[in-house]
Amino acid sequence: MMRIVKPKTKRAKRILEKRAPKLDENPKRLMLLQGTKVSSLIKSVISDLYHLKKAGGNAVKFSKKNDNIRPFEGGGETPLEFLSSKTDCSLFAFGTHSKKRPNNLVIGRMYDHRVLDMIELGIEKYKSITELGGGRKSAPQEGSKPCFAFVGEAFESKPELVHLKEMLLDFFRGEVVESLNVGGLDRVFVCAAAGDKVYLRHCGIELKKAENSKFPRVELVEVGPCLDLTVRRHRKPSDDLRREAMKTPSKTAKKKVKNVKGDSLQGKVGRIYMPKQEVEGMALAKMKGLKRERRQAAVAAAETPSEGNDQPAKADVPAAKKSRV
C-alpha cells in the first residue's frame, strides 16, 4: 500500500518548493566541513570561505569533526551526499590536516546530491581576512558580484587547472544577473598559475579617476583570503553524469503577444476589438408617445372612420417584441 506524504505546514511546503529543481536555478550553496584533524590554518581558511559565501544564506558551516568523510575513497563520499541533500548544498569544501597531506582542502561540486567532481588543494601559504584587515576602506560589500581574473597559459593546457578554473568560477560567481551597476564593481578573484603553484587572491577594486581616459582607473587591494595552492588529487566528473548535468533546458519561444505593436515613433500601440453593438435592443429613453396604450389609442382613433382590422394587429407585433426587451 502507498500513501501520499504532504508537508504539514505551509512553511514546510514553501521550503520544499524552494528546493525543487527549477529551470532557472538558485545560486549554488556551499557547505563547509572538517575532518578529524584540522590545523588552525585550515580552520581559518574554512571560516574565511564561509565569510565570503554566507551572504544570502548561501553557506552552511559545520563545526563537528567528521571521521567518515573520505572524499576520494570508495564510499567515503556518502556522508557528503547525505549532508548535501539535508542542507540543499551543491558545493562543498572539506578541510583536513595529516602528515601525508598537510593543510588539505577538498573542494567539490554536486549534481542532484551526487558528487560530480572534486579537487584537492594543498595550502602552502595563507593570509586571512583578519590578517589583512579585510581591506579596510576598500572592503567589498557582502554578497556583491565578483569579477574573475585568470592568468597563465596553464589554465588552458593543464587538465587539472582547467578543471580548477571552472570550479572556482562555479564556487564564487554567485547569482547570474542581467544588469549590473558598474560603479558597484568591488571585488575580484585573481588566480594565477606559476609553475606548479597557483596563487589565489581575493582583492577589492577601487575605481579612481583616470588621467587620459574617460573610463575610471582600476586599483586592486588585497582583502583576503590570499592563498598559495598546489593541486593534489582531482576527480573529473564521469562522462554520463556530466552530460546530464550540462543539459540546458530548451528555451521555449516567448509567447506571442497579440494585438500589441509599436515602433519608435508611435511607442506602444494596442489594438482593441469591439463586439458589434446591438443598437436595436438598447434600452433607450422611453417617450410617452411610444407607449403601447397611447399607440393603440392613436391607431384606433385613426381607424374609426375607415374600417380595417388587419393593420392594428400588424403594428402590435413589433411593439410587443420591443417591450419584452
Partner: protein
C-alpha cells in the same frame, strides 16, 4: 608608481606591434571573467599587477556596454554567461497527464474558467464556490425534505456527511493512483516537489515488522492466514475465480491415545526414550560436569565431618549450621542481583535477604 609605469610600458610595446593586448584576453562578460592565456607570472606581486591590467580591460569593456544611468549609478545590461557550467539539479519534467486529463483530451473536453463567486439561493448572497463559507454548503443545511424513497431510520444529515467523506476518499484514491502512475513512468522526478509517496504496510502476523514489498510467497501466506480467520477455518468461504487453496504451512499437533491399546508397546515411553537418547548423544562429550562432581564430593566430605563434630561436642556444630544456612541464602541473593560477593559477611547478606522479602 613603478608598477604603473611598467604596466604602461608593456601595453605600449604591444600597441607598437599593432595588437591591442585586451583583444587577446578571453572574456566572459556575463560571468565578469577575464582570462589571459598568454601571460606568465613568477611571483605573487607580479600576478597582482597582471590582474590589475585584466580587470582594467574588463571594466573598460563594461563601461562600453549600452547602459542606463540611474540614481545609483551606471547600470549596464550584461550578456548571458558564455562559460557553460553544470547544473545543480536536473531539469524539471512536466507532470504527466492525469487519468482525467487523458480522458478529457480524448473527448475534447476543455477547461473552462469559472468565477470564484457564485450566487447562493439559500442565503441570498454571493459566496465562494469552494472552501469556507461556500455556496450550498451541505454542513449548513437546516433541513432536508423527505422523499418517498427515503429509508426509514436513516439520518439524512449523516448520509450527507458520509457521502462527502466518500467523495473525498475517492478523490484521494484517484490522486494516489495518478501519482503512482507518474512515479512509475517518470521516476522520482516526475512527482510534484511537495509530494512524496511512502509505503504503508501492516504487520502480517503479530508484531512482525513488514518488509517493504511483499513477494509472491508472502502474499500467499497472508492470504492463507486471512482465510483461516473464519469459524470454519476458511472451509466454507466463497473462493474467487482462479483462487487456489491456501497452502497449509505448519503441522497439526497429534496426541497419543489416552488409553493403551491391547498388545501395543508403550509408545509414550518409547518416544521419551528416543528424546533422551538424542539429547544424550548430542551432549556425549560433556556429560560429566567436573566442577559439579567436585563440589558434590566436597559437600559430602563436609557433611561427614560435621556429623563427626556433632558427635564430639555441641558448640561447633551450632556455629556451623548457622553459617551453612546463611551462606545458602546469601548465594541465592547474589545470584539474583548479579553481585560477586558470595558467602562472606553472612549476617549482612542474610539481613538484606530479609529486607527484600519484607518489601515483597
Amino acid at each position: 608608481m613603478n608598477a604603473e609605469e611598467q604596466a604602461n610600458m608593456s601595453v605600449s610595446n604591444l600597441s607598437v606591434v599593432g595588437v591591442n593586448p585586451a583583444d587577446l584576453y578571453a572574456m566572459d562578460i556575463g560571468n565578469l571573467m577575464v582570462f589571459d592565456p598568454c601571460a606568465t607570472v613568477s611571483s605573487a606581486d607580479e600576478c597582482l599587477e597582471k590582474a590589475r591590467e585584466l580587470v582594467q580591460a574588463l571594466s573598460d569593456k563594461l563601461y562600453e556596454l549600452p547602459a542606463s544611468v540611474d540614481k545609483v549609478g551606471r547600470i549596464v545590461t550584461l550578456p548571458p554567461p558564455s562559460t557553460r557550467l553544470p547544473r545543480e539539479k536536473p531539469i524539471p519534467k512536466p507532470r504527466p497527464p492525469t487519468k482525467w486529463e487523458q480522458f478529457a483530451q480524448k473527448k475534447g473536453i476543455t477547461k473552462r474558467k469559472r468565477s470564484k463567486l457564485e450566487y447562493d439561493d439559500q442565503t441570498d448572497e454571493w459566496r465562494r464556490r469552494h472552501g469556507y463559507k461556500r455556496v450550498n454548503d451541505e454542513s449548513e443545511i437546516p433541513w432536508v425534505e423527505a422523499k418517498d424513497t427515503d429509508v426509514p431510520g436513516e439520518d439524512p444529515f449523516e448520509k450527507l456527511k458520509a457521502d462527502k467523506k466518500a467523495r473525498v476518499a475517492k478523490q484521494e484514491k484517484n490522486q494516489l493512483s495518478n501519482l503512482k502512475a507518474a512515479a512509475k513512468k517518470g521516476g522520482k522526478g516526475a512527482l510534484p516537489s511537495t509530494l512524496q509517496l511512502a509505503a504503508t504496510s501492516l504487520p502480517l502476523t503479530g508484531s512482525k515488522t513488514p518488509s517493504k514489498r511483499l513477494n509472491k510467497d508472502e502474499i500467499g501466506f497472508a492470504a492463507g492466514l486471512a482465510s483461516t480467520a473464519t469459524a470454519s477455518g476458511g472451509k466454507f468461504d466463497k473462493k474467487l475465480p482462479g483462487e487456489k487453496p491456501s497452502k497449509q504451512s505448519g503441522k497439526y499437533r497429534k496426541f497419543l491415545p489416552v488409553v493403551e491399546g491391547k498388545g501395543g508397546s508403550n509408545k509414550e515411553k518409547e518416544q521419551l526414550g528416543n528424546v533422551l537418547s538424542k539429547v544424550l548423544a548430542r551432549h556425549n562429550h560433556d556429560i560429566l560436569d567436573v566442577g559439579k562432581a567436585v563440589s558434590k564430593y566436597n559437600v559430602e566430605e563436609e557433611s561427614k565431618r560435621a556429623q563427626e563434630n556433632q558427635k564430639a561436642g555441641g558448640k561447633g556444630a551450632r556455629k556451623f549450621s548457622a553459617k551453612n544456612r546463611s551462606s545458602k541464602k546469601g548465594g541465592l541473593f547474589n545470584r539474583k542481583s548479579g553481585g560477586s560477593r558470595a558467602g562472606g559477611g553472612s549476617k549482612k547478606s542474610a539481613g538484606k535477604v530479609g529486607g527484600s522479602s519484607k518489601r515483597k
